[in-house]
């Protein structure tokens, strides 16, 4: 059963709306951080991997095409 009389009542949370919603906002932020940060980590690792590969190919004389390794 819905614990409130109306939707406005629900958002107001008695006199405690600001406290409750701020706390849940922080919880959402922490969940989003934990969910997203591994993907950012992964992107960085893939970028590093590609840079490493380019460097390795650049040092092989057979495939040197005049491109300066970054």
């Amino acid at each position: 059963m819905f614990a409130f009389d109306s939707l406005a009542d629900f958002f107001a949370m008695g006199r405690h709306g600001l406290y409750v919603w701020t706390a849940y906002g922080f919880a959402a932020a922490v969940v989003i951080y934990n969910q997203l940060s591994p993907y950012l980590m992964q992107r960085r690792m893939v970028a590093d991997h590609r840079r490493r590969q380019r460097r390795e190919q650049g040092t092989q004389p057979a495939s040197s095409s005049g491109v300066t390794p970054s």
Partner: protein, 263 residues
């Protein structure tokens, strides 16, 4: 007699083989992927159900009004921050004693998750404290020992990043984690040993919870949801740690190619 036959039994040998496989980083990498995905989706489902239930459908609390609804995130976050710390210390010990690399990787990548949970417990506690006690923060035993826990997490992360060789960071962090275990009983018993504003534990193994069932179910579900989410995040992060450490091996290169989308 019995003992020697036990150690030579196929049951024991299979157990050892299974253990070695599981603690091999590559094996763990492949097996944890589907496992982590399932746990992650289950966590999302349980978290949404429990938090919507707690916010909108659990009845209002007689004394605290609606501010008590913060409990559905505050207590799971506090639980998790301590459980993850205990896990990090245990994994550190395993890594130090049996030299299992995977234990170190899991321990390291659990640090940011535990830190975020300690942070969330402190912040939601402060927000809850204001309407309930009239203060955002008091220097009492429970709050201070939780703050120490957050600092321990930050110290662990700093140690991992300070060392040039990641293996040195693993060992240093494991030792700090083991020393810091002392803080866990202090957090737990702080509400009994000292006079404190903080209310005693809501859940005890020895007593029936003082909560009504309509609040208790979403509360327990929220704890379960946070636990599962933390496991899924730890698996994902540990897989990346494995790739990072093994980046010079062929399988890790192939996997990095696959993740980069050029297979």
């Amino acid at each position: 007699m019995w003992q020697s036959s036990f150690w030579q039994s196929s049951f024991w040998k299979n157990l050892v083989r299974w253990f070695h496989k599981w603690t091999s980083p590559k094996w763990f990498y492949n097996l944890s992927r589907p496992l982590g995905a399932w746990i992650g989706w289950l966590a999302l489902l349980i978290l949404v159900v429990s938090l919507v239930w707690g916010l909108a459908f659990a009845p209002i609390e007689r004394l605290q009004g609606n501010s008590y609804r913060i409990i559905f995130i505050h207590v799971p976050a506090a639980f998790l921050s301590q459980a993850i710390y205990a896990a990090i210390a245990a994994l550190g010990l395993i890594g130090l004693v049996w030299r299992i690399k995977l234990a170190f990787y899991l321990a390291k990548q659990s640090v940011p998750i535990g830190a975020s949970m300690a942070f969330l417990a402190l912040v939601t506690g402060a927000i809850w404290g204001k309407p309930t006690w009239g203060a955002w923060w008091v220097w009492d035993a429970r709050l201070t020992s939780m703050l120490v826990l957050l600092f321990l997490y930050l110290g662990l992360w700093a140690l991992h990043n300070a060392m040039e060789r990641p293996e040195s960071g693993d060992r240093a962090a494991a030792i700090l984690a083991l020393v810091g275990v002392v803080n866990l009983p202090i957090i737990k018993f702080s509400v009994e040993w000292w006079n404190t504003l903080h209310q005693p534990a809501t859940l005890k193994f020895t007593e029936a919870p003082p909560m009504h069932i309509s609040m208790l179910i979403p509360f327990l579900l929220a704890i379960l949801g946070f636990y599962l989410a933390a496991v899924a995040w730890a698996l994902k992060r540990t897989r990346l740690e494995i790739l990072q450490r093994e980046r010079r091996t062929q399988w890790a290169r192939d996997e990095l190619d696959r993740l980069g989308g050029n297979v």
